[in-house]
Symmetry: C2
Subunit: 199 residues, 2 copies
């Protein structure tokens, strides 16, 4: 019983650290954030870090997973079958734009931030990013395919190509919004995409 | 005369540091690179850094300017008036794709890397990035406008909107190439852009 309680407590400290890592890495970047910054934000002793993680990279991978699972919740917007697929695509990117706006465009996307900062520094981080971006692309692709099937989206490009292009162009727009601290690039993304890809 | 020689020598050390900063910041990121990393790469004493720069941020701003001036050389591809404007746009992005490929997609774009890592950390870096991205957008915009005027590019979107979209989408594609370590995202960029924006 004591062992059980201990395991629950340990799991909870670990979760607190991963939660805090999402926030701290998103704000400061991987190299800009120390383990101390993260354990302070988690309100746990610095020493508890090494009880749960082999390295800061290993923590970053878990932080990316948690961030993705939250992002994935909004991916559900893409698959609410009551609405036409093109409306769902538009609503999805508007939802992401709203998230960016509530952060005053300062934080950008944790996945995009880690992609540019860490892909050439950490194999573990890069490989997880590749998996997450591939999953994200597939989530968009299925809605693109539906829109193509009903004839609202152009069919002279493969659904997979359009989906990856949309995701990458979105990440680039979020990057630009972070520099300009305004929504111009996100509005342009919507304008260009929904004029040029629809039929 | 001695003063003149000393000024030349000082300018040269400064230039060496900025040159090395472009390479080192591009490889390791702002927070991943120490001043020591940069002065070692420049083969100058560490102490010479503070003779020339008030801060690592100030050096990063100068490194971005040097990177931009080199990138600007390739922006000339956009304005070689012998070729039709649409060909110049295509050739320009193919040139950038070739640069990325020669680095095995590892480094990404220094401007994009600094944008995601430093926009919320350093006002000086963010403001310089905004200026450079605006200038880059204008360079693309003038060729987009020419292509619209001759009727090869769609006119139902403003040249400025298309140009900013192209640049941001390109930066997102370079980010994805850095994660996937292949040219897929850059090829998709060209495919989608030149099919959907042309008339």
């Amino acid at each position: 019983m004591a062992g059980h309680i201990e395991r629950v407590a340990r799991a909870s400290v670990k979760e607190q650290i991963v939660e805090a890592a999402v926030e701290t890495l998103h704000q400061k970047g991987f190299n800009g954030a120390t383990v101390q910054d993260i354990t302070s934000a988690a309100k746990v002793p610095k020493g508890s870090f090494s009880n749960h993680f082999d390295s800061k990279e290993a923590l970053a991978v878990e932080a990316l997973d948690l961030y993705w699972n939250r992002t994935l919740n909004s991916v559900n917007i893409l698959h609410e079958e009551a609405a036409p697929p093109l409306d769902r695509l538009r609503r999805y990117f508007r939802h992401l734009a709203g998230v960016a706006e509530r952060q005053e465009f300062r934080a950008g996307c944790l996945i995009g931030n880690m992609a540019t900062e860490m892909s050439d520094q950490s194999r573990a981080v890069r490989e997880r990013l590749a998996v997450l971006l591939a999953a994200w692309t597939r989530a968009i692709e299925s809605t693109v395919r539906e829109a193509q099937a009903e004839g609202s989206l152009r069919r002279d490009l493969e659904a997979k190509t359009i989906a990856a292009f949309l995701l990458n162009a979105w990440e680039g727009a979020v990057m630009r919004a972070k520099v300009d601290r305004d929504a111009t690039s996100l509005v342009s993304f919507e304008d260009v995409v929904f004029i040029t890809l629809t039929t």
